[in-house]
């Protein structure tokens, strides 16, 4: 019997994972922090989120349409880029800025380098840094934030820490408020607890491993302890405020722009941890996560190359 049978190389079965499912999981993991951000900062935050996501998806669609490439918006990667970028925005920013950022992320950082899987930097972070440089004022202005809690503060906890020291900063924002997210900051970075819920989901779903986030956070902690004021409270303050938790679990773990080898991921995490500590303690800005990660992204291929695992049985010799 000779029939119409398919012939292909083994293996002939595939598990049920897919790129789209992974991206959807990342989107689901951002729901808690997204919900908290919109609850705390109100409608303006929601507009920023929706605007940025639409900009990213539309930019991808139009680019691929114009270039006569297959349309890949169904893989949800543009949605993830849009969400991460939006969550990195101050809630009161004029919405055209993150829209411009979204277009930059998709067209310049992702598509021009070959699309999904080819970008050497995290598109959302590259766009954030692009916006930080272009619109420094709007990107760091948290003063006009009409927050859903009683506070007249204008500076973020990290900026306060840098300006007035740990004791005064603690008076302004205590640990519990920072942990819950009742502080000024970007839409997605404020609530540690909401971020950790999402991170837990990603770990349970095996989308990310804890290798990069834990080593990254630990490195920042050690760095801040040694080169800062040797105060454990300051260390904790550094960990839960600013974008460190968001960056560690949602941005440094980006598959495409971080090393793929296990050992490489550890070195990468240590590297961006040191950079973050440097930028935060000695830089002009209070923040440092975004720049640290994109510099890490640039070094990632090199780290990868020098951390290839030893093949099974390489050391074996004839008995």
């Amino acid at each position: 019997m000779t029939g119409n049978f398919n012939v292909s190389s083994s293996p002939h079965v595939r598990d049920n994972s897919s790129t789209a499912n992974i991206m959807k999981d990342v989107c689901i993991a951002m729901i808690p922090t997204l919900a908290f951000g919109c609850f705390q900062f109100g409608l303006s935050a929601l507009i920023v989120v929706i605007g940025t996501v639409i900009a990213c998806v539309l930019a991808e669609y139009l680019y691929e349409k114009l270039m006569k490439k297959p349309i890949t918006i169904g893989d949800f990667s543009a949605v993830v880029t849009g969400l991460i970028l939006a969550l990195n925005m101050p809630p009161q920013i004029p919405v055209w800025m993150p829209i411009l950022g979204g277009v930059f992320a998709i067209i310049v950082v992702k598509q021009l380098y070959g699309g999904l899987g080819q970008n050497f930097m995290n598109p959302a972070l590259a766009a954030r840094c692009f916006l930080l440089i272009s619109f420094a004022g709007a990107m760091t202005n948290f003063s006009s934030v009409a927050m859903n809690y009683d506070s007249s503060s204008t500076a973020t906890p990290l900026a306060s820490l840098k300006a007035i020291g740990i004791e005064n900063a603690m008076e302004k924002y205590n640990m519990l408020n920072i942990f819950l997210g009742r502080i000024p900051g970007t839409i997605g970075e404020v609530s540690t607890i909401a971020l950790l819920i999402g991170a837990l989901y990603l770990v349970v779903r095996k989308v990310i491993s804890l290798r990069i986030p834990l080593v990254y956070i630990a490195t920042v902690a050690v760095f801040v302890f040694i080169f800062g004021d040797h105060n454990p409270t300051t260390v904790l303050y550094h960990i839960i405020s600013g974008g460190l938790i968001f960056g560690a679990f949602f941005m440094a773990t980006d598959y495409v722009s971080s090393p793929v080898t296990k050992k490489g991921q550890i070195y990468f995490a240590i590297f961006i941890g040191i950079l973050t500590g440097l930028f935060r303690l000695f830089g002009g800005n209070a923040e440092g996560v975004s720049y640290a990660i994109i510099i890490g992204n640039i070094v990632a291929p090199l780290i990868e190359k020098s951390t290839l695992p030893k093949a099974f049985g390489r050391e074996a010799k004839k008995a």
Partner: protein, 448 residues
């Protein structure tokens, strides 16, 4: 303590429940044309000893080993040699084959089936019997067994590992054999142990086959030199390197043979074949195959004569429920896709797996997102994601630098890939290219 296993691997759907409770059915060929390819093993093709028109008997050597690494081919029927011509085999290629017209009388050679007291046989005699019987590794690779059991220094062999893992999904032939012929497995292992004074026997079985473990443990109870090891169920647990590591914690790479680390690994079916040849004067003329998958009416296990047409096995299993989309010789992880069923059962055949749906076709390839899952599952600790870049660029040098030749082509990386990339296919292609390059370089050196 956890169960013996290795690092990496995957857990595909096992599909063994379809056929595992069906006892082995002995099937006699219906058709008259029996096909015996001269290459059913690793190594040089066998050389025909018969000519067209010759009468042959069951158990007769019709082609002899064509080199040091090669194996005899034995007729499974009696009848007349009709033709010697290229025929299609499971891997799609045409292989020179001896075609015998089965006279259905099954007249055997002299001494066929005679019982022998193997304890009295010398080591050389045992090795000769195994060689004459045309026995090769029946786990799929087809490495000539007489070569395997003749290492340079037999004193340095510490373990004879019997592979009863059967980690390939859907396959149940080894399981049935363990359930139905446990005594032959133990006796066969004792024959091999007789060759190696410093070796102990290990029978490794995955823990998804508790009845087989129980059965063999019972039979091994009074055998001081034989131990049954329960293995954690994970693919590719039955891969040679993975199995050796799980049972002994010894590691080997592509440049070494198991004997180099003091181990010899034989599939359970191979061990039974050794028993049949040595103790019952029956050379390798039969194979146990699982005919299974969701397209088959009654999935089950058959004991058939080598040379039987695949089509006959499908018919014996009740035919197809519906037109299958894909038919495999072997299981879903390492099997060969077939475009025709007009091929013979050979020593390397283990199953016919039929599917109504082709998951490869239904999961189109998308760009790699570097998630690294392929690295997590690779039993050889390789970096498939980077190896695939080299494969796509036809960069054999880069592929070798990434230790691509250590790939065992188990398919775990392609199985887990969320972007559904044909990683294993790329590696098979590259490994062949590198091997060809190495051969060409070696030939050049010789000329100089």
């Amino acid at each position: 303590m956890g169960l013996a296993t290795f690092i990496g691997g995957v857990h595909p759907y096992e599909g063994k429940e379809l056929s595992m409770e069906h006892p082995i059915t002995v099937l006699q060929p219906k058709g008259v044309e029996m096909v015996f390819p001269l290459s059913q093993h690793i190594g040089a093709p066998a050389k025909p000893l018969v000519a067209v028109g010759d009468e042959v008997l069951v158990g007769q050597i019709i082609a002899e080993a064509g080199g040091f690494i090669s194996a005899n081919v034995i007729s499974s029927v009696s009848g007349k040699v009709k033709k010697i011509e290229p025929r299609r085999v499971a891997n799609g290629s045409m292989v020179n084959s001896i075609i015998i017209e089965d006279n259905k009388e099954y007249n055997a050679i002299e001494g066929f089936g005679e019982k022998r007291d193997y304890i009295r046989l010398s080591k050389d005699k045992i090795r000769k019997i195994v060689k004459d019987a045309g026995i090769v590794g029946l786990g799929g690779a087809g490495f000539p067994t007489h070569v395997k059991i003749s290492p340079k220094n037999e004193d340095e062999i510490n373990y004879i590992i019997v592979n009863g893992a059967e980690c390939e999904p859907y396959l149940t032939s080894d399981y049935r054999l363990m359930m139905e012929e446990p005594k032959k497995i133990i006796e066969g292992l004792k024959i091999i142990l007789q060759l190696f004074p410093n070796a102990t026997g290990i029978i490794g079985i995955e823990n998804n086959k508790p009845k087989a473990i129980e059965k063999l443990k019972a039979f091994a109870q009074n055998e001081p030199k034989i131990e049954v090891v329960e293995l954690y169920t994970k693919y590719p647990q039955g891969g040679e390197r993975s199995l050796i590591y799980a049972c002994t914690k010894r590691k080997l790479n592509s440049s070494l043979l198991p004997a180099d680390v003091g181990c010899i690994v034989d599939n359970v079916d191979t061990v039974v074949s050794i028993y049949n040849a040595v103790a019952e004067s029956t050379p390798l003329i039969r194979r146990i195959l699982t005919v299974t998958g969701d397209a088959i009416t009654t999935p089950q296990n058959f004991n058939v004569r080598t040379g039987t047409n695949y089509q006959e096995l499908i018919e014996a299993a009740g035919g197809f429920k519906e037109e299958p989309r894909k038919i495999l010789s072997g299981g879903p992880m390492m099997g060969q896709a077939l475009f025709t069923l007009d091929i013979p059962v050979t020593k390397a055949s283990s199953s016919i797996t039929t599917f109504l749906h082709d998951e490869v076709e239904e999961n189109p390839e998308t760009p790699c997102i570097k998630c690294g899952r392929c690295i997590d599952v690779c039993p050889s600790y390789l970096v498939p994601v980077l190896m695939m870049e080299k494969a796509l660029n036809d960069d054999t040098e880069g592929f070798e630098k990434l230790n691509g030749m250590e790939c065992v082509e188990c398919g775990s990386c392609a199985y887990v890939c969320p972007a559904k990339r044909p990683l294993t296919q790329g590696f098979k292609y590259m490994r062949q290219a590198v091997a060809a390059k190495r051969r060409a370089e070696a030939a050049k050196k010789e000329v100089k």
